[in-house]
């Protein structure tokens, strides 16, 4: 943590911005992992919540001139949770592959609403023009944070200063809240339903209710990451609602390790920096090499990077005892 805090003094701006990207992905991955790692449910539709987190506030700014960062974030989380409450009600009735297919289908519904322009049409001719000629993407300016207007501040100074520390603050808060959730009775019940659904029901756990709750909380965290991402990236596009963006988040979780609390965060850092380093090593062929590398990591570290390290550490400790 202290490394993150002193990073602005040690790291060049471009890489500090990459760290900020890793942190916001980390928040979303943490949220998604509540379902995957603790609930044993693979969702391929969480990109929808990531996108909603940024699109809601971006639309408020674009069409209603709402420039408050706090409203931007809160509205995004609120809409994502509202949608997740409805979708969650439907998907928790299924498990395993059926759950995944349902989340994929519902996620693609949201994606299509943006990709086809249906959402923009609601905003009238201006909205439809924005969709037609802007590829469905929306620009997100520097917003007003705690009453301070940053719209004329130096962009890099803002991203590597105020906004970087704000992301760290939100990240740490999210981390602590998630820690409390997974270690609560609710978290333990969720793990129990993952390990043996029948037994969990037998001991009185309302499995569907717990899964619904986990789904909504998970959507809230994912959308929080999405909202922070939008401001960091200055733009949000329909791509961030598509299933392959869900796959990107899942890959980060698997890379770090889904059965460890910090695995998704480590995975987010891993994906961001592996992707970036490859450019320097292999130039235009980076995507090809990334594919090979991902296969190798999946085969060699099935528990993820952090998962493998912790299991080795456990083995060493047990053998020394």
């Amino acid at each position: 943590m202290s490394l993150l805090l002193v990073a602005p003094q040690l790291v060049r701006p471009f890489y500090l911005i990459l760290i900020a990207y890793a942190l916001v992905y980390g928040i979303s991955c943490m949220g998604l992992n509540l379902l995957l790692g603790y609930g044993g449910l693979l969702s391929l539709g969480h990109a929808a919540y990531f996108g909603l987190g940024a699109y809601t506030g971006a639309m408020l700014w674009t069409f209603m001139d709402v420039g408050s960062f706090e409203l931007y974030v809160i509205s995004g989380i609120f809409v994502a949770m509202a949608v997740a409450s409805v979708f969650g009600f439907l998907v928790v009735r299924a498990t395993k592959m059926h759950f995944t297919i349902l989340t994929l289908a519902l996620g693609e519904l949201v994606f299509s609403a943006f990709f086809s322009g249906a959402v923009f049409r609601i905003m009238g001719s201006h909205g439809y023009a924005l969709y037609l000629y802007g590829d469905g993407g929306l620009y997100i300016p520097r917003l007003i944070i705690a009453g301070v207007d940053y719209s004329h501040a130096d962009r890099i100074g803002f991203l590597t200063g105020t906004y970087y520390y704000l992301i760290i603050g939100v990240f740490v808060s999210a981390l602590l809240i998630m820690w409390a959730i997974v270690n609560s009775n609710f978290g333990k019940a969720l793990e129990a339903s993952r390990d043996n659904e029948v037994r969990a029901k037998f001991v009185g756990i309302r499995v569907a209710g717990h899964r619904w709750m986990a789904y909504v909380i998970s959507a809230a965290f994912t959308s929080l990451g999405g909202a922070l991402f939008g401001e960091l990236n200055s733009a949000i596009t329909p791509k961030h609602l598509a299933w392959y963006f869900s796959a990107f988040l899942i890959f980060a979780i698997l890379l770090g390790g889904m059965r460890t609390f910090l695995g998704p965060v480590v995975g987010a850092f891993g994906v961001v920096f592996i992707q970036d380093s490859l450019w320097w090593l292999v130039g235009h062929h980076w995507e090809l090499v990334l594919g090979v590398l991902l296969v190798l990591i999946a085969l060699l570290f099935p528990e993820g990077l952090l998962g493998t390290i912790s299991s080795h550490y456990r083995t060493l400790r047990e053998s020394s005892n």
Partner: protein, 456 residues
């Protein structure tokens, strides 16, 4: 016929006006306002650093976009090498190219940030996709990078994403001109078409081309009926379902804005199903790829669009020494390849930067700042291989007369099977809204909708 007469009259007046305007601009503008890329070498008379100028270049260099985008890289390299061979800008500062990939919007913005923050480029040239300029434009403004977009020509960029540009400029014609030019050429060439099918890539460019073509063709010809509208995803590999439906709809004409590798795939699949024998075809961008990539099987007689910007055979070499010199130099540098409009656009942008530095340096008596350059670039004109490009100070957008033509198989140019002939050359002032015009979905659309008469 009355429709055709009215259209020709309308455009004829424009052509004459444009010719007079261009002539007036060439001769009446202040000395040096219109310069050729081979203008006089400035005297070394001021403090000029001897460090290289870092020029960021970003384009598609792999995947289906590379068929169009590779030429952008090659055009900028050619210009940089020519300038460096003469000792560099102001005879001292050579150009160093920092080459980065264009990709998805996020990847493109990320690489742009890397160029600005890590490579610390002095200026930037690039972008093919109109999905990417609206994302890169605001970032360029925020990071203060002098940005000369070659393409990514969506009207959206300067109408909505960056309505008050300072650092960002663009030199290729705006996107709406593409659909408008194609529709006018269609009405001129085939005044009897009535039933039209559409196939366009499903993103900003395809939507724009469809809407502007549709608006103008309905103003130009009577009783137009759209019998099919298809919007396949960009970089699709299979167009056969659309082709089958298009043939089934029995249109007189197919309007398409497919481009790059998509267009090549489409025409080959269309040939297999006999599409080109069953209808007339009008394209906005068939001849936007690197010319050697269209095969000898390419159908003749279609309206062969080149993004309403440039095709290497036009302006005719006999009457345009600058185009002849550019094409020959490009071909020699790149193993017999010919440039497309992206190559020409990048070449012109590098020389536009050089021209701006030389002019601003004279004014400030030293190496100019970005703000000095911007003042010179606002309202600047440059004579490129395609003709004169003039930048409107109000929106930083470059305008040049629009061109399209007819496809013909030819052996006149080694390595190129299909060329563009019978060019239609349209005055740009007749195709775009006057400065300051606001409207939805684009200023051009609204202006045409409200001011153009029905020409039949």
């Amino acid at each position: 016929m009355a429709a055709r007469r009215n259209l020709i009259k309308f455009l004829g007046a424009g052509v004459v006006g444009a010719a007079v305007g261009a002539g007036a601009m060439m001769y009446a503008a202040p000395k040096g306002a219109v310069e050729t890329p081979t203008g006089p070498k400035p005297k070394e008379r001021m403090m000029v650093p001897d460090t290289p100028i870092k020029m960021g270049v970003q384009t598609f260099r792999k995947g289906p976009g590379a068929a169009t985008g590779e030429s952008l890289y090659k055009g900028s390299v050619l210009a940089a090498e020519e300038i460096n061979a003469e000792g560099g800008i102001l005879g001292k500062r050579k150009l160093q190219i920092i080459d980065r990939d264009e990709g998805s919007t996020d990847e493109t913005v990320k690489e742009f940030k890397r160029m600005a923050l890590e490579d610390k480029i002095d200026f930037y040239i690039g972008i093919i996709s109109s999905g990417n300029t609206p994302a890169v434009g605001p970032v360029a403004e925020e990071l203060g990078v002098l940005t000369l977009f070659v393409d990514g020509c969506t009207d959206f960029l300067f109408e909505k994403a960056v309505p008050k540009p300072h650092f960002a400029f663009r030199t290729t014609n705006i996107q709406s001109i593409d659909g408008i030019t194609c529709a006018i050429a269609t009405a001129q060439k085939w005044p009897n078409v009535r039933k039209i099918a559409h196939i366009h890539p499903d993103y900003a460019y395809g939507r724009n081309a469809h809407d502007h073509f549709d608006l103008v063709i309905k103003k130009s010809l009577p009783d137009i009926q759209n019998v099919y509208e298809g919007f396949p995803k960009l970089f699709s590999a299979d167009f056969t379902p659309h082709i089958t439906k298009i043939i089934d709809a029995k249109p007189d004409l197919l309007s398409t804005s497919l481009w790059g590798g998509d267009y090549i795939t489409f025409y080959k699949q269309g040939l297999a199903q006999g599409l080109f024998d069953k209808m007339k075809v009008a394209t906005t961008l068939s001849h936007g790829v690197t010319p050697s990539l269209l095969g000898s099987d390419h159908p003749e007689g279609i309206i062969a669009g080149c993004h309403a910007n440039y095709y290497f055979t036009y302006p005719r070499w006999e009457s345009s020494p600058i185009n002849k010199r550019f094409v020959e130099a490009y071909s020699k540098r790149w193993n017999g390849e010919y440039p497309n409009f992206e190559g020409e656009g990048a070449y012109v942008n590098v020389y536009l930067y050089k021209q701006a530095v030389e002019k601003a340096a004279k004014l400030v008596g030293g190496w100019p700042s970005n703000d000095d350059l911007i003042q010179v670039l606002e309202g600047a004109s440059i004579q490129g291989p395609a003709g004169v490009v003039s930048i409107r100070p109000q929106n930083h957008q470059g305008y040049k007369n629009a061109v399209t033509g007819t496809a013909k198989n030819s052996k006149a140019y080694p390595g190129v099977s299909t060329i563009q002939v019978d060019q239609v050359y349209l005055p740009v002032d007749k195709l775009v809204a006057p400065p300051g015009w606001k409207g939805e979905p684009t200023a051009a659309f609204d202006w045409i909708d409200k001011t153009w008469p029905n020409m039949y």
